[in-house]
Amino acid sequence: MSEWAQIAQVLLAGLTNGSIYALIALGFSLIFAVSGYLNLVQGEYVVIGGLVTIALTEWWGVPLVPAIAAAVLVSCAFGYLLQRLSLSPNRRLSPDAALIVTLGGAFIARGGAMVIFGKDPLALPSFSGERPAIWGDVVVATQSFWILGTLIVASGLLWWFFNRTYTGKAMRACAQSPTGARLVGIDLKHMANVTFVTSALLGGIAGVVVAPLNFVTYDEGLAIGIKGFIAAIFGGLGSYPGAVLGGLLLGLGESLGAAYISSQFKDAIAFVALLMVLLIRPNGLLGARR
């Protein structure tokens, strides 16, 4: 295996993982920008999306596309209920209290997933078959392209949403100044609903596309959610391009660190890099000054 093929292989693995982190980071940034809350349930959406798809297709023989739609719907419903029942703006929770509420939500999701889907890791076949794409010595799972593609499409749609639709613009207004937004007649409650459902949608889709790459276990939501959270901080919490950039860089950093520095300290390397960036740019790579 040539040196170049090896580097390409490692970079592709990093980009794939990074895309997942980016999709989760987008959810974090979305909610933070509009409501000022950190939503720790973000990683659970990924688990819900993956597990529901697997259960529907593998256990009940539902075709893939309706199963995916149902899984994303379940994930959105969970996000909506969490928001309506506990984090609605007229309850005026402090960000600290909201953080604890979302942690509780994460444990509810995890416990529910354990009861419904069991403790064993579950697998979903790749969308385009298990045979990987091969260029010379470089081997890539076709699912990686689905994941990268999902990130590109999701980023494009978000851009369109924020710049071309009324609701999207209203959401940006809420993020810039909640009081101002309220004065011009934007319904904050409605906006909060929309952000929570959108971020649940992103997480659920991430869960669906990543499920075939490896396995889904009921208890991995918090771990992957924290990776997404770090990616969001890395890129600048509240910035959407920052979330994408942060996610991709974190994925690449982990992969390169594991391959060329030490696989024993893979996570530590990524965190040290994060700390260095935050020392120089406290608001993250693309974060607005707060």
Binding site: M1, G14, L213, F215, A223, S263, K266
Partner: protein, 381 residues
């Protein structure tokens, strides 16, 4: 109730009370104690263990017990806690006056109860391979040692002509200890370790590590770890197109694996496992085939679930304890001496042999090299 009945009962109660006051005087009370983690994180080991032991005692009682007397099995739930284990072991020895103890079942709980059991001189058959039993002690285990498992695996690789090997091990305790064994033993089998990579138990992707390993061109890869990470390694291995043997550490494979690894297993994946997991592929001449089959049948008939190796060890241990009591009665020291005389007991792991010097009942014949092909386990070399 008649007056005579009452009198009879009073005499009986008094006799029982006497038996408690003077243990050994009532030498016909056959009591076996059992401490294991019936609930909590260790339940996957302790629960089948206790169930199978109870099954063995019930079976012996249904066949008339010992000299017409029923055997009592007193079970306590340690919840895998060392403190609770110690309390229950003391209770079994001092209050319940048992003649032999089955369990406990983790390195931590066994370690905690060792001094108490040695001091009380009550034989104990414990349910973990990790702790090394001392010669002439009161501790026994039927499990083969961890080292034995790694030696069997390395020997198989040597037989396949492997000269250079890569290791990928998890960073948790079991991965750490497995890695230490492989690093210590490989030279004895003429194998060089050219690259060692690490992975987290929770990793979803080990492409970076496997890419590096692939570039090092080893003759085989030794993956150390258990649970979902094994599937992650297997999937990445297949995807990157490795053709070399992939050796898994012992204990990495469980009966639920065929489901998990459907369609993604490399044909080159081999592992040392316990005979029970591959019982259907064992030749009829194999000494463990009949004991395993018998155990699996009675377990399934009673619980509706497939028995596993932990159940098998509970089944074997209870039988060994009952056999010893049948021969020498209830004196714990005599029972210990009798267990030391066990030779080639047809156990579910392998033929079990104890001696005063050797308190570990099985060795490398407890392991068998297997392969995972077309969704089924098959034997290999």
């Amino acid at each position: 109730m008649s007056g005579l009945g009452k009198l009879k009962r009073a005499v009986l109660v008094a006799a029982l009370g006497l038996a408690f006051v003077a243990p050994g005087a009532g030498a016909q009370e056959y009591r076996i104690g059992l401490v294991s983690s019936l609930t909590g994180p260790g339940a996957f080991i302790g629960d089948p263990f206790a169930k199978a032991a109870k099954l063995a005692v019930d079976k012996a009682n249904a066949a008339g017990g010992i000299n017409g007397k029923k055997i009592q099995l007193i079970i306590y739930d340690s919840e895998a806690s060392a403190d609770k284990t110690l309390v229950f072991v003391k209770k079994l020895i001092n209050d319940d006056k048992v003649s032999v103890i089955l369990g406990p079942d983790f390195s931590g709980t066994v370690r905690a109860s060792l001094p108490t059991i040695e001091e009380a001189k009550v034989a104990s058959l414990y349910n973990t391979p990790i702790i090394e039993p001392k010669p002439n002690s009161f501790h026994f285990t039927p499990w083969p040692s961890e080292e034995t498992g790694y030696r069997v695996a390395l020997k198989s690789l040597q037989g396949r002509g492997v000269k250079n090997m890569a290791v990928i091990a998890t960073t948790d305790l079991s991965g750490e200890s497995g890695n230490r064994w492989v690093q210590k033993l490989h030279a004895e089998y003429g194998i060089k370790i050219t690259i060692t990579e690490r992975m987290e138990m929770a990793d979803k992707d080990v492409t970076a590590q496997l890419t590096k390993i692939k570039a090092a061109r080893p003759d085989a890869v030794f993956s150390i770890g258990s649970g979902a990470i094994v599937a992650v390694v297997a999937k990445g291995y297949t995807r990157l197109g490795f053709t070399q043997p992939l050796m898994l550490s012992t204990g990495a494979i469980s009966a639920t694996f065929p489901e998990l690894l459907k369609g993604i297993t490399p044909d080159t994946m081999i592992f040392a496992t316990y005979n029970l997991l591959v019982v259907d592929t064992l030749p009829d001449s194999h000494p463990s085939k009949k004991p395993i089959k018998d155990f699996l049948k009675i377990y399934k008939d009673n619980f509706g679930k497939d028995g596993d190796q932990y159940g098998g060890s509970g089944w074997d241990m209870a039988h060994i304890a009952i056999d010893a009591m049948r021969k020498v009665g209830t004196d714990p020291v005599k029972i210990r001496d009798e267990i030391q005389k066990v030779r080639n007991y047809p156990g579910t792991m392998a033929p079990i042999t104890f001696s005063p010097e050797q308190h570990r009942g099985t060795a490398d014949d407890a392991f068998i090299m297997a392969q995972f092909k077309d969704g089924k386990f098959t034997l290999t070399k």
